[in-house]
């Protein structure tokens, strides 16, 4: 795994990719530092990071588009997949390789709060909390990008698709606001969800019996929930999609609140997408 991390990290700096990523992130964080702190003499640094989160939309695809797509296109995945390294380690190695580039860039921006600290009193706890949140958010988005990259063998398609997905995630709060929140639509949505899960089961196992059972149990559970506590379905759609609203979970960090929930949330989110990437590679071998 270490070998793959090393290889990914070094590959970023053999082409423009790593430099473009670092330069863009450093430029925007620096820009917001100048406008939010230096020019108006403001000691609040966490605002700089939360303003910079939109940059992820542009630079995460740059970082992740190559990861799996290029291996498939160049057929170098044959080397990786026939080596005595498990799929999980391959995916993890690639992920950590990309994350390490991000982490190093982030470490460089730590100069800004240090500059601020020479000019007055600043709240280190808040700044470090903000950095942890910024790092976790970026890492979660990198996991999404890695997954999208495993779906195609074309870097450009991977980049555009990743950008689209990240944009949807970014706008998720606005999307949720416009979704219906009444009980009936919540119930219907829950049933659709159950059907979708049963279908995924079926396409994975090709076993009509098991997936039928899943469907039946799911429907019964949804119905039982509706009979026992109908209010469960108030705003159900919003709550489900809320799980995907990555950026709203960042609010705590932006306000200087350091709580465990968003940390666990981001780590879980990354893990799910890394797992999906492994599944995707596994599936390619069977098709």
């Amino acid at each position: 795994m270490v070998a793959i991390i090393k290889k990914e990290f070094l590959t970023y700096f053999k082409s423009m990719t790593g430099y473009v990523f670092m330069a863009s992130l450093l430029f925007f964080v620096g820009l917001f530092f100048v406008t939010n702190n230096l020019l108006i003499l403001n000691p609040q640094y966490s605002g700089v990071l939360s303003s910079s989160t939109f940059v992820f939309l542009l630079i995460v695809p740059v970082l992740t588009m190559r990861l799996m797509a290029e291996e498939t296109r160049q057929k170098t995945d044959q080397l990786l997949l026939t080596s005595p390294v498990s799929l999980g380690r391959i995916v993890m190695g690639k992920y950590l390789g990309a994350v390490s580039v991000f982490l190093i860039t982030l470490a460089i921006t730590f100069i800004y709060p240090l500059i601020l600290s020479t000019m007055g009193t600043i709240f280190w706890g808040e700044i470090i909390g903000g950095y942890i949140g910024f790092f976790l958010l970026g890492s979660a988005l990198i996991a999404v990008g890695l997954f999208v990259s495993s779906l195609t063998d074309n870097q450009v398609i991977a980049a555009v698709a990743t950008f689209t997905v990240l944009l949807v995630l970014w706008l998720m709060d606005a999307i949720i606001g416009s979704l219906p929140a009444d009980q009936t639509s919540g119930l219907i949505f829950a049933l659709i969800l159950v059907a979708a899960i049963a279908f995924v089961f079926y396409s994975a196992t090709r076993n009509l019996f098991v997936s039928g059972g899943v469907l039946l149990i799911g429907i019964l559970a949804v119905a039982a929930g509706f009979i026992i506590k109908p209010s469960l379905y108030n705003g159900f759609i919003g709550r489900v999609f809320g799980w995907l609203a990555l950026h709203s979970h960042y609010q705590d960090f932006a306000m200087g609140i350091f709580s465990l929930t968003p940390i666990v949330y981001y780590i879980t989110f990354s893990t799910v997408f890394l797992y999906l990437t492994v599944r995707m590679l596994e599936k390619k071998r069977w098709s």
Binding site: V2, T11, Q74, R285
Partner: protein, 315 residues
């Protein structure tokens, strides 16, 4: 060393491999022969764990590639059809990376790498970016990659593609040497290569094994007559008449005049009869000197065509 049972692979509805069975002994060099799309690469990809079989098992040294992939993969060096190279690495960096992921550790790691670079002669390009290398060098770097870690089993998909004739001979000799202490499977659609290198040949067509034997046995077993190509000086009618009087001649075909004053002939006889001596005496008696006599044994090409087209007719 390698055991394959009922290997079947389906791509959707398309049956790429149909219940393939074979075994390869330790230190054996096995050649896979077949037209494009016959299932050679598919078999190799399954053996190396790159793709999974729809049905059946592949055992490497008794270890199932699906059940204990990491253990099995440790024993395999694989050179796929297109060598899996990272263009923006130098040869040194690349082989270092391969050593890392193949978990080659210890003190002889560097020595091992130097030995392999000597073996495939890529020492002079070690510092260059792989993307700038010629096709021949790329192929050899790919071969070096397969040799890293000194795996017991070497699987090579068309190892000499893209090489010039001199390099082809070098690589063939190298593969022969490797066969002394490795089990080697290689595929090719170049027949002389297979007969030059391999101890045993498996001909596969449309996902099925249609023949499996040594190259010699294959050419002997399938020929139903022995043919001679002759060039004899003298008058055509006289020669034809004299030959027809010899016992055991099945067929006589005149190819016409290629050299003034001579005729070219193809003579077919029963496989167990050697007609060369009677032929000589007959011609000597007729005072028509034989200028050329060449045996037309079935080449692997003929066998290959025969086997793969016979298959078609049966269906």
């Amino acid at each position: 060393m390698i055991q394959v049972d009922n290997l079947t692979k389906k791509y959707g509805q398309h049956l790429a491999l149909d219940s393939v069975n074979f075994t390869v002994g330790e230190g054996e060099i096995l050649g896979f022969l077949g037209p494009n799309g016959a299932g050679k690469s598919t078999t190799m990809n399954i053996l190396t764990g790159y793709i999974s079989a729809t049905d059946g098992h592949a055992l490497i040294n008794g270890i199932d590639i699906l059940e204990q992939p990491e253990e099995a993969k440790k024993m395999i060096g694989y050179l796929p059809e297109s060598p899996p190279l990272y263009g923006d690495m130098t040869v040194d960096e690349y082989l270092d990376f391969v050593s890392d992921i193949k978990r080659v550790t210890g003190t002889d790691r560097k020595k091992n790498r130097e030995r392999i670079m000597d073996l495939v002669r890529i020492g002079d390009v070690r510092g260059r970016l792989i993307k700038n290398l010629s096709k021949g060098y790329k192929q050899r770097v790919g071969l070096a990659q397969a040799l890293i870690g000194n795996p017991k089993v070497l699987i090579m998909d068309e190892p000499t593609v893209g090489l010039d004739p001199k390099q082809i001979i070098e690589i063939r000799n190298l593969i022969k040497d490797l066969g002394k202490d490795h089990t080697v499977i290689l595929s090719s659609h170049i027949l002389p290569e297979v007969s030059a290198v391999c101890e045993r040949v498996i001909i596969i067509n449309k996902g099925r094994i249609v023949a499996s034997d040594t190259p010699e046995n294959l050419s002997r077993g399938l020929g139903d007559s022995s043919k001679l190509n002759l060039r004899i000086a003298g008058e055509e009618n006289l020669i034809l008449k004299a030959i027809q009087e010899i016992d055991g001649i099945n067929n006589l075909e005149s190819l016409g005049v290629r050299e003034p004053g001579t005729i070219d002939l193809i003579v077919e006889a029963d496989p167990d009869v050697d007609i060369r001596r009677p032929l000589f005496h007959a011609m000597s008696k007729a005072s028509c000197p034989i200028l050329m006599m060449k045996s037309l044994d079935m080449t692997l090409e003929d066998i290959f065509l025969q086997v793969t087209t016979q298959e078609e007719e049966v269906r």
